[in-house]
Symmetry: C2
Subunit: 456 residues, 2 copies
Amino acid sequence: MSKQALEYLQSNRDALLAKLNDFLSIPSVSTDSVHKQDVEKAAQFVSDYLTDIGFEKVEVQKTKGHPLVYGEWLGAGDNAPTVLLYGHYDVQPADPLELWDSEPFQPEIRDGRLYARGSSDDKGQVFMHLAVFEAYMKTEGKLPINVKVCIEGEEEIGSENLYEILQAKQEQFAADFAVISDSGMVAKGQPTVLYGLKGFTGLEFTVKGPSSDLHSGIYGGAVKNPLMALAHILTSMKNEDEVVQVAGFYDGIDELSDDERKLIAEVPGEDFVQSTGIPEVTPEKGYTAKEHTMARPTLEVNGMFGGYQGEGTKTIIPSYATAKLTSRLVPGQEPEKVQQLLVEHIKKHTPKGVTVDIKKEPLSAKAYKVDPNHPLVEKAAQSLTKAFGKETVYVRMGGSIPVVEWIDAIYKMPIVLLGFGTPEDRLHSPNESFPIENFDKGMETLVYYWQNVQQG
Amino acid sequence: MSKQALEYLQSNRDALLAKLNDFLSIPSVSTDSVHKQDVEKAAQFVSDYLTDIGFEKVEVQKTKGHPLVYGEWLGAGDNAPTVLLYGHYDVQPADPLELWDSEPFQPEIRDGRLYARGSSDDKGQVFMHLAVFEAYMKTEGKLPINVKVCIEGEEEIGSENLYEILQAKQEQFAADFAVISDSGMVAKGQPTVLYGLKGFTGLEFTVKGPSSDLHSGIYGGAVKNPLMALAHILTSMKNEDEVVQVAGFYDGIDELSDDERKLIAEVPGEDFVQSTGIPEVTPEKGYTAKEHTMARPTLEVNGMFGGYQGEGTKTIIPSYATAKLTSRLVPGQEPEKVQQLLVEHIKKHTPKGVTVDIKKEPLSAKAYKVDPNHPLVEKAAQSLTKAFGKETVYVRMGGSIPVVEWIDAIYKMPIVLLGFGTPEDRLHSPNESFPIENFDKGMETLVYYWQNVQQG
């Protein structure tokens, strides 16, 4: 059955690329109100496509912000599994425009890559799903399984309304599992299943000293320096072995199993020294850099400021100093609990002579992890291996995708993260692109995958 | 003899205030090239005044920047002492203008204070000296001692050319001692002799990590965070008892004597908690806040920055982090040596995974201290006590006045710091002012002082 769909994709390749071209040409930049109509146009594109293929109950659902496109095809019957497919049709802004080698919304193929804003994140990957559904419907008149499609227009602005929608539409969106193609492979040509994401929590704290900046000659020796106090607090939070010193931070975390260490070791890793220009990696003592980035929690200072920042010298004791912290979490850690532990640690370690103001970051996410041996994950790996001709690797990622946690929390269903991007795609940056080869092999993977899932 | 001079000052008070008004009306802002001609006009004012009084060899000496005014009166003869009087006729900019209650260059007397830019720093205090010389010359036809006057126009821009001039003019400027009135009393009505100033040295260092900002989810755990590394370095430099941990930092410093602790204890101290809004003072362990600010070296972070500083969260590991440090020095510490100790400490405490770039601040100054029992200092104290009707206190100050160190280093003569400002003068700020009472009592002090010095 999958053979015909594959043939369809091959023989209609030019038409599909032309159609993708139309999709990518719509500047659906969700953060910029100038593009409000473009965002709606992109939603309409998805909606029209679904209707054309033969999906039912297709609608552009209004939200408080940009619309969400829903459509379903449930013709596989009650005995076939139902998948909820999530993706997004909105994109990041293209600025700075002058750094693009071709127009961001005039797709161009160069050296085997399709250059356009959204080619990888996420319009290109959404389109691949739609094209595969088209291939099945045009050749078989049906899909191997039941499908519910949910493509939002606010992912690049924090999915502001999605959580509420997911809660409200539990009946409509109900499914046996979810698939999300909004991530990447560890290297081009290296099929990858992502089976875990980190959560996160964060806060900002400001150490307050004198009510205004003071002359360091006159007040130095009487007044605690807020910058130095800030440094002391930060230093108390993590030792030089990169072990977090916040009491309770690691509570509830499972130690890495030998199996998982082996899985991680098998992933062809990025050479961090080469790709980032650092002198050497500095993972938590007892772990490799790959283990720490993928599977251990982190605590990072993302920004810090206070006092004089201009050229030369200004001999002041500044009035205040601020640091922004985020922590990436692994399964077993509760975001709110970790945030509270950080708050308590900061308060406890604030030296005398200053006070501290703490602002909790309202957004947070729990870590997500699916059993890498789950049949739906194994089938994804088998499909990838077959399409790409190479053994699939299993990775966890240090990043966070809030929608994953939300689907997990509300729907309690397994989520298969099947991403076809590559590390060279330059997401959110000028010259975003996507390898044409992954367009072909990605669609091939999806054809195999739905088939595999159907066969149970 | 001083009686006549005092009477002259009293009976000509209005004329003198009117003349001071003319001087303060010249916007001699040295940092702003728009005011170049005003700066020259102020120099000419000083020069004309000296000529009118009867000074000789009066000249507006050109420099690479703004001119220096020189004049001398050596009629007291070879047996009388010669003083070198230093001051400056340039002022800070008046911005922000909207915060002034009256025009900065249209002097106005309100509530016993003369409001104008430069009223305290330093045109007002320079003028007092000139008026006292006038009083002596008009009544006696001579001064009690020989006087060389050196009034520069670049103090507010770091006395850029003064060091070179002081070196070049050693013969012309030679004297037995120097007097500088460019400082203040510890409180209005509390006559004060300043017998010590701190020196300073400084540097800026940048902790460098990855070649660009990185995604904290993907790289957290592999890459050392430069902000955290910076915090570790700073924390290693000073403990929570405010004791500097840099090896050799305190070498060569004399422990505070009981006599000096007593002198310091007698000074009516600023209530640091009240004036700065801090919860409590935090001096070096074993010292009071007054002792530390006046007589112990300090190490302060003046500014610090790196990473994201906007609103909310940006989950990056920043590429670099920078801190600016200055240290205030006491006698026994060599600025260049301390600077080098700081450099070595930073290098030694830079954690692995990052590198560090250090920029030494080129300006530095040694501490200055004169024996508080020196007869020229005692005479100053006696004169102050007589004029203000209150026992004079002796203080050391945490600030630095580079010219003091330069005169000390090049001329090796005692320097008497006889300042009449008050803590409420708002130097460098909007609404700078000077108490009219100190104008009168300050001139009275100077009349007594020259007399006292003459009597040997």
